[in-house]
Point group: C2
Chain length 347, copies 2
């Protein structure tokens, strides 16, 4: 880039930055968050989750202020089919890490929270030991919102947690295949919690998720399930041989744990560390985060352009007419698209 280009670039960035609304409320909240204030963190998350335009502006401004202090945590996605013992594992392993001095934020992506909002209470009860730990922060993340999924808000909450000083941010999903891709696209490490002997139907659901996993933990490897767990681990290791190599060049590993008996936890943390050393030695964490940010910007922009388009009353009316004309075969899809574009962009 030559210096003229570089100047033009800086001018553009400055012009954009000077347009910010500069809300004192945002600055106040941001500095409280940076001091590790939990209440301020919770308040800011509420703004992120709000659909009101004013709240969104405020959230945006807070994110601007904390931006230089983000990116500092291990971002870890944790998934597992229902019955794999996710809550028990997060409770056991989370408490283990917090006792070692780590600061852990758990963002639970719970599809059921859209219905009934019962999950907040649910989260507190299902992980009460961890929830009470001074180093832990547990927050369910409703999966509603403009982008229809976990993606938008959870990403922003990760940044807030990092600014508040959390060294580990875990994003937990239920493992039925809907949110896993989104979580994979916002974390550094994707962990799958598995269990021996689940039925064929659950194995089917797990397949696609297994391919994304960097580390698989076979949970409930204790007592009567020990032998079956070892066999399941062997099967998984064999299956990984047939899967394509990951962009990180990391070979997925499979470990046995028992969240109930709290065995294997040290080994899990050692493996996590080995993973992060591996990707950092190749600058892959940095590379992947840049790529994630770029893709996220494109996705969000695409969605926003579409929603701006659909917000114009004249567009909506025409869109509806054309949609039914296309449905009934009165018009080809190509004609309908061209017609919408012409009246929108006056080409």
């Amino acid at each position: 880039m030559d210096s003229a280009q570089e100047n033009a670039r800086k001018q553009l960035l400055n012009a954009i930055k000077s347009k910010r609304t500069q809300l004192p409320e945002a600055e106040r909240l941001a500095s409280s968050i940076l001091q590790g204030n939990r209440l301020a963190l919770a308040e800011a998350i509420t703004f992120i989750e709000s659909d009101r335009d004013a709240d969104q502006r405020l959230a945006e401004e807070i994110l601007h202020w904390i931006q230089p202090q983000t990116g500092t945590s291990r971002r870890i996605g944790i998934s597992g089919v229902p019955g794999a013992g996710k809550s028990t594992f997060i409770e056991a392993f989370g408490t283990f890490l917090c006792n070692q001095g780590k600061k852990l934020a758990v963002l639970a992506v719970d599809p059921s929270s859209e219905l009934g909002k019962g999950s907040i209470l649910g989260d507190k009860t299902r992980m009460h030991q961890l929830a009470a730990h001074p180093n832990a922060f547990i927050r369910p993340s409703p999966s509603s919102g403009n982008l229809g999924g976990v993606a938008r808000r959870t990403r922003e909450v990760i940044h807030l947690c990092e600014a508040a000083g959390f060294t580990d941010v875990w994003v937990e999903t239920v493992g039925v295949g809907q949110n896993e891709t989104a979580v994979h696209a916002m974390t550094d490490l994707f962990v799958l919690l598995s269990v021996a002997g689940t039925g064929d139907e659950l194995q089917g659901i797990k397949r696609g998720i297994t391919e994304m996993a960097d580390i698989v933990l076979v949970n409930k490897a204790d007592g009567a399930l020990m032998a079956a767990s070892q066999a399941a681990a062997s099967d998984l290791r064999r299956a990984f041989h047939f899967m394509p190599q990951k962009p990180s060049a990391w070979n997925a590993s499979v470990l046995l744990v028992s969240a109930l008996e709290k065995t294997g936890l040290t080994e899990v943390e050692t493996e996590f560390q080995r993973y992060f050393e591996w990707i950092d030695s190749r600058s892959y964490r940095e590379h992947r985060r840049k790529e994630q940010a770029r893709l996220w910007f494109e996705t969000l922009l695409k969605e926003e352009i579409w929603s701006v388009f659909l917000r114009k009353p004249e567009s909506i009316a025409q869109f509806e007419v054309l949609k039914s004309a296309v449905e009934c075969g009165e018009m080809t899809v190509q004609q309908a698209v061209r017609s919408m574009l012409e009246s929108t962009f006056n080409r």
Copy 2:
């Protein structure tokens, strides 16, 4: 809808239709296609596959002319993992149907055709008996194009084939999971060709596709593989019990065939007929096609709006600057999106 609304709607549709470019070349080609002329069909497909704007206009105009004569075929997606014997099956079953008087178009979606363009020759050689049949038309469909996949052009080619009088249009995919969803979204019946005893890695790929299947055919059910094929069929039937019910309320069925020994072909055709009777008795084919057209219109419009946006030189420049600012953390994604929207829509 009251009569004022209905009038407004008609006016809008007429205004759109009057804007057509009315190319005599398009009218000529369209009427040749409607008379069943193969050369005209092939020529029109070439226009559909072209990226030139003039060719696209022409293709659009041809599609307009033939529109009333489309929708008449059985649209069937056929998928199967490599090694399932797809070519042999299509050759055997296709010839069987053509001998019964059916007119069959096979659109082979071949991801490899992007590289080297070798597939056209490949298709002719791998199904030479069918290719030579007067009732058959085989065409590979390059999977490149604006929408990056099979979706756009193949959909339009289906319409052309219907206008040319084909009673069956099959869209064949390789079955590695990339194009199957798109093919499912443009066909009435989705058939999976399976085979007993494929390795675990292939089973993994097949899972997601199996869920989409209306009819699974276990091929190579002959000789030494007979017992294994029967066992595979039982496994598949059991697996379908655990899968969610299809919107058509059709229970996926599993049949044994041997493309090599040409056994089971009559049963396959009987099952296809039973399927179409089932969905037609519920008006599900009509319902699904309307839904497919509507979704397709939305998808295409979204893509086109995005590409119009990215075609403006000032947008591209700003987009690139913002993308790198977001990558390096100089700016939050939210700020970058807002900035692009503001300068685009002058909000």
